[in-house]
Amino acid sequence: ERGADGNVKVLYSQAVSIMNAYLSSGTKDVEVGSLVLEPLAGFDQDGNVFPRLADGLPSVENGQIAEDYTSITWKLKPGILWSDGTPFTADDVVFTAEYCMHPEGGCAQAARYEGVASVEKIDDLTVKVNFSAPKYNPFTAFVGATSPVLQKAQFANCLGAAAPTCTEANTKPHGTGPFRVTDFKVNDVVELEANPNYRDPAKPAFATMTVKGGGDAAGAARAVMETGEFDYAWNTQINPELQAQMKAGGKGTFVSAFGTLVERIEMNMTDPSPDLPEGERSTAKHPHPFLSDMRVRKALSMAIDRNLLVEVGYGEAGRATCNLVPAPAIYASDNTDCLTQDMEGAKALLEEAGWTDSDGDGVRDKDGKKLSILYQTSVNPVRQDFQALIKGWWNELGVEVELKSIDAGVYFGGDPGSPDTFQKFYADVEMYANNFDGTDPEPYVAQYTCEKAPRPETQWQGENINRFCDPAYDALVGDLLKTRETEKRAEIIKKLNDMLTKESYTVVPLVDRGRLSAHSNTLGGIVLNVWDSELWNASDWYRIK
């Protein structure tokens, strides 16, 4: 029965700053926003699309998806009301598209609407989305927590440049979801209550919800697992030993699930040497003096014991991987040979490549050039442990390693003026994690084409961080864009994955990082979902008595 279970307290170690997913791409904002604003369809825990506000799923079979994949027609569930009591109609859906596609709006989810030519209202409960070109994955716009439907009445004056000025709407939007906002404190706490107009009269079981933000992961886990102040803690990434200890407390449980987030080492294919003139460092003009040799890269990868990394850094929340695309299952390559460390093999490989320790100082060299590596990453205790461990192994190989850690704000900030951004890559190797949105890896693998390398001309923007450049790869990406059969696409993606990893070792995946969250033993109905919002089924949560 709605509201019977009182209050539920959720803790986000990153605080919520806005409820409107179109103005923030931050996971925390999108997820908490999803308690209020809903898309037409969502992803379930296995990555399958399921209808939310839509009345059934469109498919080619039922004709709602055009044969040539140039349009998709959504039917809306009848009788749905906004939390302010007004009816939910196709106008709202059309308006939402207009809102996000406005050129001055700076819509954070514009990628979801890429390729959308227009959205038309067929009738009050039918909407048609037209694409400018065939879209083989039409479940982008209005699907998933990143693309919810806004109420037209509330946001009508917030188009384009005016979007951020609608503070009230952005922090207390009217929604169709199980909850509505009663109080919003930026970057601090969101108080919600059950939406009286929610379509299922028995849900949600909780009358109110508090989403508190701030602090660190360990503290968040502690609040659920040890002090029991909170019912649910998001992303409680802590060291495995602490996990074990907290679990022993018996107040709560950790839940984990794996998505596509892969911690990897990127090998710089270009020369980052500070002796080069500014503007030529880390550009295609100068290939890397030794990392451009595949054998060196492979040897470096072989020296790594990924299982140990997992054990030290992630425990249950990670698993060793050799793939850039570890999931969904159909796209994951069966590449596992990197999982066992092979120090001797690595050494042999380096010998073979001509890198020997000719002067006996413990560091291999060739032609007077030392095998010396600058290894950078962002500041993060697990990453620093990884750095230390990997440095140990590489030292064992006879490679000299200098470590560097950079503040995340700077490292990921992409400020062209700073030498320390991961895009500039003024180091030999660097480590970070990345994943892709939703279940379709196409844009993700397409990042490694030649022209996407960050360069001075592009203000160092670009996603091909390691400056990998292989015409064959670019051609295959071209093929992928034209292919529509799922199996074929999967094949190409696996091939692309392998080309980056086991065939070239430009990307050296280390760990497939899962999501680890904690909930108290009295909170029922939790199903961890990495493909959509973690709070995707908050309407089903209940108190175990």
Binding site: E241, Q245, A388, L389, K404, D407, S418, P419
Partner: protein
């Protein structure tokens, strides 16, 4: 009476030392401080384990993780099986040097600015507004900018270690002198109205020596306090800098960083925080007592206690 053996006027410093020696706390403090210095600088010559060594063999490494103290590892090991004793010694080198040098920079700057502002009416406005400016500047962006601008040139011209060291002590020093400056200025304002300053002026003591001889010795005690507190905050700030990626390389141990790293493990392995915590506190405590002794020694009125 002239036939009596007359002691030559002793230098003030001999006096100060004589007095200092009779101050028990100060002597103990000095002894502790010297032992700490010996521990971190001479210790590594005796205990030669590499502080960053991780056993490359995974199975072995797992076995040496988070060990309690033993003969092999007198202070135990950390989560990667690195020897804590070696890390404490190496870390101490950095922390103590950073603490002392950064404190000296900040005290020197602060005292100079404070005395100048307090003593010269004309400089008071500009210098105090400068102090206001520095107080108002947000620390983090300031540090980030300093590091961005100076790290590479410094490490290129002085080598990465010295370059980073200088950058860090300078960054800490330059961002922490303001309190001392304001305190000193306040004291100087009061002090310069004292009659003995007037008397010194009447014999034509120039400002420089007026400051050195009459003003400075009389503002010693707040400076001493600022210095003691400065060491502690420099050591802590250094570790904070590392977290911004502004400090030494990430595998480089310092006491502040060991403490921070250890906090994560405080429940399972409290020793991890206790060692660096004790080391920092001991340093600060010993410096404090030395400072106390020095202050007493410099004040003739409380000598002989």
């Amino acid at each position: 009476m002239t036939d009596l053996a007359i002691e030559k006027p002793r230098s003030q410093w001999a006096d100060v030392w004589a007095q200092f020696r009779s101050h028990k706390g100060a002597l103990i403090g000095l002894a502790v401080f010297v032992s700490l210095i010996l521990f971190v600088f001479v210790g590594p010559l005796i205990w030669t384990k590499d502080p960053t060594f991780i056993n490359p063999n995974a199975a072995e490494m797992i076995k040496t993780r988070n060990k309690p103290p033993s003969l092999q590892f007198p202070l135990g090991t950390d989560q990667l099986g690195r020897d804590m004793l070696a890390r404490m010694m190496k870390g101490g080198q950095v922390s103590i040097s950073v603490g002392l040098v950064a404190m000296l920079i900040s005290i020197t700057l602060g005292t100079t600015v404070g005395v100048m502002a307090g003593y010269f009416k004309r400089l008071d406005g500009p210098l105090m507004r400068l102090t206001d400016l520095f107080l108002a500047l947000p620390l983090l962006p300031l540090l980030l900018v300093m590091v961005m601008l100076f790290r590479d040139p410094l490490s290129r011209s002085l080598g990465p270690e010295t370059g980073t060291f200088l950058l860090i002590v300078f960054a800490i020093g330059v961002t922490s002198w303001m309190q001392a400056a304001r305190i000193v200025r306040g004291e100087v304002l009061a002090l310069k109205e004292r009659e003995f300053v007037l008397a010194a002026r009447s014999i034509g003591t120039p400002s420089r020596r007026m400051i050195l001889r009459h003003i400075l010795p009389n503002v010693m005690s707040p400076i001493m306090v600022a210095a003691t507190l400065g060491i502690a905050s420099a050591i802590i700030t250094e570790s904070a800098l590392s977290f911004l990626g502004l400090g030494f390389p990430p595998d480089f141990p310092t006491w502040g960083r060991l403490l921070f790293d250890g906090v994560e493990y405080i429940q399972q392995y409290p020793a991890r925080v206790i060692w660096p915590g004790i080391a920092i506190s001991l340093t600060v405590l010993s410096v404090n007592y030395v400072g106390d002794g020095l202050r007493d020694a410099l004040d003739p009125r409380i000598r002989g206690r």
